[in-house]
Symmetry: C2
Subunit: 128 residues, 2 copies
């Protein structure tokens, strides 16, 4: 029987309000804003459950490592600002999948990662 605990609820709330994928550490920190008494092991235990439930997906970012994101958002890709280290979700997909798949191959999934500087960081350093 599954119980409704405040730490579990906090973790779900964190994802409900997140605007991008989160690392386990992120979930811990954001979760603690809601429930001071929250442990990393608990975070992992719940992340695992939520992934098993299909609520979350675990993705491996080439530069940031393992991140978790909700599965109820449509196909998208990620932009990593190397200045502030934030991850932005990019709506849609500008990849021609069939165009990049060799003859005889079948592409089931794909991931695209962009790296650069976000608007916020560009402004800061823009001067004037």
């Amino acid at each position: 029987m599954t119980r409704k605990t405040c730490q579990r609820e906090a973790i779900r709330q964190v994802f409900a309000h997140a605007r991008g994928p989160l690392s386990a550490e992120d979930v811990l920190n954001l979760g603690r804003e809601r429930v001071e008494r929250l442990n990393l092991a608990t975070v992992y235990r719940n992340l695992r459950i939520m992934v098993a439930e299909g609520i979350l997906r675990r993705l491996n970012h080439p530069e940031l490592g393992p991140l978790y994101e909700r599965t109820d958002i449509s196909h998208h890709h990620h932009f990593h600002c190397r200045r502030c280290d934030r991850i932005y979700e990019l709506a849609g997909c500008a990849l021609d999948v069939s165009g990049s798949t060799p003859a005889g191959f079948r592409t089931d999934e794909h991931e695209v990662f962009l790296y650069g500087v976000c608007a916020a960081c560009s402004c800061e350093s823009a001067g004037s």
Copy 2:
């Protein structure tokens, strides 16, 4: 002073003949076909040197982890066959980078990973 050892030469040869990115373990195994006495620590030491020299690039594949590939090949992306676990290099790029970069953002680099089944594996299971 840098010396020319057979293990170092073997590692360079491995990359000279590789047709895709390799894991450290791959380099060890392929290198041993050339020099039986080759150690993983040596592989790592040389990989590090070659990356520092700019000969190799280290990339983090979301499904396969850290891989090393030559830097003297033109822009391309990777296809991972989930059936045989092989990595194929895809010539060119079918991503509309500017199209996927939000206003105000600047994209410096990007990576694309495709997952699916390669031609060889498709044939095997295709029956006739």
